[in-house]
Symmetry: none
Subunit: 156 residues, 2 copies
Amino acid sequence: MRLSDSIEQFIKELLSQESTEVELKRNELAEYFGCAPSQINYVLATRFSPDHGYLTESRRGGGGYIRIVRVVKSGSQRLMYLVNDRIGDSLGEEECLRLISQLKEQMIVTADEAALMASAVSTRALSVPVPDVLKDAMRAKMMKSMLMTIASRNRS
Amino acid sequence: MRLSDSIEQFIKELLSQESTEVELKRNELAEYFGCAPSQINYVLATRFSPDHGYLTESRRGGGGYIRIVRVVKSGSQRLMYLVNDRIGDSLGEEECLRLISQLKEQMIVTADEAALMASAVSTRALSVPVPDVLKDAMRAKMMKSMLMTIASRNRS
DNA sequence: ACTCAATAGGTCAAAGAAAGTCAGACGTCT
DNA sequence: AGACGTCTGACTTTCTTTGACCTATTGAGT
């Protein structure tokens, strides 16, 4: 069995026990598996990325940690559809706004959240000297990122 | 648990009991936590700065003290300060996250909104081939745009 | 008034603690 | 052998903690 797979298993084990969130120490985990600490980052990058349905945050320095959150897909098929299929690599402002207003209508996001999202992807917010092609690429990523975040709460 | 966090909690405990202001002795507090007195300054600098919504004053010499005052500003005042003064033309990711978490702590935005904002300015969301300088310029604009949106609703 | 010692807080740099990054070595399929 | 996935180690960045030295205030003794 591959080391990466073992670590992946181990973390998923923890996640299944401790609900949807787990916090761990990179060095301890590396010690436990007798590997380089950076191996943990590799596992996170290749198996617990947002694309895989996970979010991670961390802190350095004394008392540092890594937290992994499993995004629950059940309550939000619509969102995951948007993230995985609907939104591609590029999204214009108009289309962003259309999507956002649909989400609002379907009561998947509140009016306040919709306004927040719209202001983030607005032309005004992105008015820096960068080609439009790249801005639209960025909009796509921002939308996905925000939708993932929304999907990760709200397991109602 | 981190020492800094314990001290922070301790002070906030005092503040919640004694209204909006608390006065303490640096050396006594350090003794109580068994740490170097300068540790107290570190906690003040990293957790009770004006950005965090606190002011501190102090006196040296006999009968010296440190006073910590929680500044009670309305949400929209705080937001306007951020938009007009605090955030300039450029803002790194770390600083964005710090500001956002402060807004959450001050209950000016909800946890959900904070998460949404954080995901919008994240490295992940902006991972397109654009120089970092421009990304930080964009972050500044996005933050302002989002904060304005928040301010324009409930002017409480 | 002046000086000096005691008291109390401030500053800063260096050490320590954790996590992040990335290039390159190593493996394992085809 | 080549391509792709895995793993490591050296170096970096961020956050925390401490200690040595500095500055301000007070008060007692002259």
